[in-house]
């Protein structure tokens, strides 16, 4: 057996008092596709950052081709031939697709001038080999997010890496694009490139990898050959005992009483949302699922009044609205949880207490002046109720863990029971424990008569919580599934447009 190209020996990483990674040891063999599988918060991203040199391990060593790597930096990592495809897009929007695939000066002549013909031809070839056709002279901004991701992957592939690292590469891809990526990676492996593939999507990992390392809560649970493995055995290793309580199919689902608490009629936005009608019943948890680019989060933002509308009406209880903003909806009891807490929903540079007072300014004041006593009382009880681990007056929100940030953001929406709660990606980037808690909060809202419209890209979450699911594609609602028909296969088929 060949010597490992990469080897982790007892690697740990500590952030503050918490271990993101603890005593992780495994090796990656040359020419294999090695998958790292784990839930959000299992430590996958930290592992990637250690390989790419962005983060130094607190303990343990990283070996590359049998030599110990000391003082690992991003530049050093690139020198060793490690190429990274990051989770966040880093495409140059205003440059052509060709320049994005080959950002180096590979096609420069002796005078340092670029040979454009050569560049375009090479880029065209690269795209075709990967199975997608595009005008490589067009700016990258014209591409869909999924295509941008593919361009980024092509760039890494063509930097001739010895190890290609992909961090959740399919999170922005639709089924077709995922298939393109899979065949591209398999052809790379045949050419002898080692691939480190980080994902929490079991089917892809099973289809692609030679070996799989499973991380849970920062520890390596197993490294196994992909031979005779089943999805359920992997899930077992990945989630551990928590699975039963997390996605318990027998947990009570709220059916709703039938009376509509919120209705959307003929809603169209500019560009991404077309002619949407939907009704949300009292006490119901309605799921809305769409792949990247389907316009699902745009629909959520349009409903709550964060985006401009072309046409449409909104009915909240008995109130019919033609014009509205978040402020108006809040007064009618409609709360909104944003899909990305780094973008909006919190004030990252402020402390917990200041965050907690923001949505309650009016309630916590008399004669236009803040009542500090009432404020600290409300903050304390809210932090307790949502089990947020933080010191309200001393900790800036940016320094909290993802789970605590997410719970804080949710606590800002849930002073009482909202009449209607529009929730986007409620458990994005949180640990398993917080995830179960957040699902508990949502179930409570529905049990107490509030209705929830949940936009999520995590199908297991939708299946666990919702009794009815709307599927979006190309800015419109293209299907609805109810009860036992809500399965991953059914939802994905409709979302990807396989059948209607």
């Amino acid at each position: 057996m060949a010597n490992p190209i990469l080897e982790f020996v007892g690697v740990s990483k500590k952030y503050g008092g918490n271990f993101a990674l603890q005593d992780v040891s495994f090796d990656v063999r040359p020419g294999e596709i090695h998958a790292i599988l784990g839930e959000n918060g299992a430590g996958k991203s930290t592992l990637v950052k250690i390989v790419s040199g962005q983060v130094q391990p607190s303990a343990g060593t990283l070996m590359f081709k049998g030599t110990r790597v000391t003082v690992h930096t991003p530049a050093r990592s690139r020198q060793m031939g490690v190429a990274m495809v990051q989770q966040e897009l880093s495409v140059f929007d205003h440059l052509s697709i060709a320049e994005n695939v080959f950002p180096d000066h590979r096609f420069a002549g002796s005078a340092g001038l670029i040979n454009w013909n050569l560049l375009y031809r090479a880029a065209q070839g690269a795209c075709e080999a990967a199975g997608f056709s595009a005008d490589v002279r067009a700016p990258a901004s014209a591409l869909s997010p999924g295509r941008k991701q593919l361009v980024e992957i092509l760039r890494c592939v063509h930097s001739n890496p010895s190890v290609l690292v992909l961090d959740e590469p399919t999170s922005g891809l639709n089924t077709h694009e995922t298939a393109m990526l899979v065949s591209l990676l398999l052809s790379l492996r045949d050419r002898g490139v080692t691939v480190l593939y980080i994902s929490h999507r079991i089917p892809e990992v099973l289809a692609l990898s030679n070996r799989i390392t499973i991380l849970r809560d920062g520890r390596e649970r197993a490294t196994v050959e992909n031979d005779g493995l089943t999805e359920s055995s992997l899930v077992q290793m990945m989630v551990g005992r928590d699975l039963v309580s997390l996605y318990d199919p027998t947990a009570t689902k709220q059916n709703g009483s039938g009376a509509a608490s919120l209705a959307v009629e003929g809603l169209s936005g500019y560009g991404s949302v077309h002619d949407v009608d939907l009704t949300l019943g009292e006490g119901e948890i309605l799921g809305v699922f769409g792949l990247e680019g389907s316009g699902s989060f745009e629909l959520a933002e349009t409903i709550v009044g964060l985006r401009r509308r072309r046409s449409g009406r909104l009915r909240v209880g008995t109130t019919v609205l033609r014009r509205w903003q978040p402020r108006k909806l809040l007064s009618l009891g409609v709360q909104y949880l944003h899909n990305n807490r780094k973008d909006a929903g919190l004030y990252l540079a402020l402390d917990v207490s200041e965050n907690a007072e923001a949505p309650r300014l009016k309630r916590l004041s008399s004669h236009g002046l803040l009542n500090r006593w009432k404020l600290s009382e409300v903050v304390r009880s809210s932090i307790q109720r949502f089990e947020i681990k933080a010191r309200p007056r001393h900790q800036r929100v940016v320094n909290l863990s993802g789970g605590n940030q997410q719970k804080l953001m949710m606590s800002l929406c849930l002073d009482g029971v909202p009449k209607c709660f529009v929730v986007c990606e409620p458990t994005r980037g949180v640990d398993v424990g917080s995830k179960a808690q957040i699902h508990g909060f949502l179930r409570n809202v529905a049990a107490e008569g509030g209705s929830i419209m949940m936009f999520s890209s995590e199908l297991p979450e939708i299946i666990a919580l919702c009794t009815r699911v709307l599927i979006m594609r190309a800015g419109g609602v293209v299907g609805q599934l109810v009860g036992n028909d809500i399965t991953e296969e059914n939802v994905m088929a409709r979302a990807a447009g396989a059948s209607d």
């Binding site: 402020r327 809040l330 909006a344 929903g345 009016k362 803040l370």
Partner: protein, 315 residues
Amino acid sequence: MDAGYSLTSLARSYGIIFVTLVTFVVFSVSRKAFLSPENIYGLFYGVSLDLYAITGFTLLIIMGEIDLSVGSVYALSGTTAGYLATRGFPTEFGILIGILIGFAVGAGNGLLVVKLKINSIILTIGTLLTVRGLSDVVAATMAGNRYAEGFRAIARARFLSLNWTVPAMFLVVLVLEFVLSRSTSARVLYYIGNNRKSALIHGMRTDATRIGAFVLSGGLAALSGVLVASRITIADVDMGRHLEFTILTAAVIGGASLFGGRGRVVNSVVAYLFLAMLANGLIMFGVEPVFQQIIVGVILVAVVAADTQLNKEAG
């Protein structure tokens, strides 16, 4: 991590006060003329006139916007008020028109920034030039003439044997400190400055608040302009030139962030006093104004560099 955070915020809150006190002591010990009551009083009097422009500017910075037209508005409003009074209109009428001009320019800035989503730096450079042109026309008409007696009396009115603006300054700063920390409408400025989309999600009137802050900034710059015009006796083409940069420097030295969400009016005022003191003291050391701007420039760069470093360490 937490210790770094509190140390950082301590440096931001009180650093400028400390530096100003040290500067004061150094100049007082080394130059007798500096410590004379007339000199000290002159410094405070000067700041007490510009106070209103500094306040409006700082509120905008906290909200994450900038108004570079303050110097021009200050000049146009002051010169126009004086011009009208000199032309025989009632003094009050001149003042009213001067301040209305400020509100109007502010409203224009605010509406364009909010409704057309124009970057406020670029937009207010445009208004800076436009309004300066108008103000130059008025100043040229007045050239060399003294303002009317009644108009000149405003900044010279006395209260407890002081120019009234000096005690007013202390009162205004005290009230503002209280209001900015407790008033919900002022807190909204901080939230918008930190994350406008979050503020919108949390039900704050972001558009109206942003426009309102621009209107206020224009009006307050006009008020300062009227007071200063009244003090300077003779119409001056260079009135308020580069004032926006001096105030901007003061706000940043006082701990405000150009990205919004951070800043205190009292710190901007103290920092402005510091800059005035520095100019005053350096002249006594025979340092030419040409070299003074080099010193101020270096201080600004040093403060920003230190602040960025502190920010990094605080995570």
